[in-house]
Subunit: 192 residues, 2 copies
């Protein structure tokens, strides 16, 4: 019987490998593949994750939790505008991985309704705090609210994941979105 | 043997019904269901569309062709800015239907690579012409290009289809995008 810390390390290694494999679109990979790449026995994987769906749900939850922690860490940044726009950019750059994991989860018969949905909501709340802080600092216009900002985030993410945009087009797309979120120069009338 | 014009009318009626059924997300509907709702015999459907995938591909192609014709019709509009922004809004509002048909096609074992991709490319070119005209009229900033504008269109469409946004959030999301596409007031520095 391994020590507790060994068991934890194994669990993390399995999650790391699974995130890597499934995040890169390898949805047909098996739990056995993950065990082999992680250098652990298949029994160890099954002890932690009884099904492929359970494994993928844990990967997705951890992925959301990490992003949320990153968002929260930026709440202390000196420049609230750069904290918000930088994190928006980061989320969109990460989208392909996240969507690939979510699709593998659904294909494995799992659901993104439970714990993954909770973790996703927590991330959304953290983005809401970054937005609020950027608005108070005058870096984002005050007349926008989280639902439409999040819709743009989801949309930009799906565009990147779906159309495999190159980095330059992605960056130019975000320039348009960010220009739309930036307050007009004072004195200028609102457009759009 | 029906007259030629009857045969054409039957074909159009079948496509209308199929667009309605599958566009509303009824991807499990069968070719028999479509025949019944269209009030034609199943043999008539099969004579026109040997498989469900062939039927769905024809529905999708016709859908793209119509949108393209609408875009082209707007090329003569008095106000090139309103022609472009209005059509952008129209495409996003239509997204749910279009994506539902495309998903039903893939699920029926069809592919959106062939004729549907051609029709989709023709629509993209028409949007490019609307964009170009709006830029010449000063309604859209000159430093944006079709790839990123189309990425935003795809993204906004996917956000609407995926997250079932209510109309108000959809409209507020587009307000942000349109503000980002509108040239800054003269004299103001570029933001974003």
């Amino acid at each position: 019987m391994p020590q507790r810390s060994d068991a934890r390390a194994n669990r993390e290694r399995i999650l790391d490998v699974a995130e890597d494999v499934f995040g890169q679109g390898g949805k047909s990979a098996s739990t056995e593949d993950v065990a082999r790449l992680a250098g652990v026995g298949i029994a160890t994987v099954f002890r932690n994750f009884p099904t492929k769906a359970a494994l993928l749900e844990a990967v997705l939850v951890r992925h959301f939790d990490r992003l949320r922690a990153e968002a929260e860490a930026r709440l202390g940044d000196q420049d609230p505008g750069e904290a918000f726009f930088g994190f928006f950019r980061h989320l969109v750059a990460d989208a392909k991985t996240k969507i690939a994991i979510a699709e593998a989860l659904l294909e494995a018969g799992g659901t993104d309704d439970g714990e993954a949905a909770e973790a996703s909501q927590a991330l959304r709340r953290a983005v809401g705090e970054l937005l609020h802080r950027a608005q108070k600092a005058g870096a984002v216009r005050n007349d926008v609210e989280l639902p439409e900002v999040y819709a743009l985030l989801v949309g930009a993410s799906r565009a990147v994941a779906r159309a495999s945009l190159d980095d330059q087009v992605r960056s130019r797309m975000l320039t348009i979105v960010f220009a739309g979120l930036t307050p007009p120069p004072s004195g200028a009338r609102r457009t759009g």
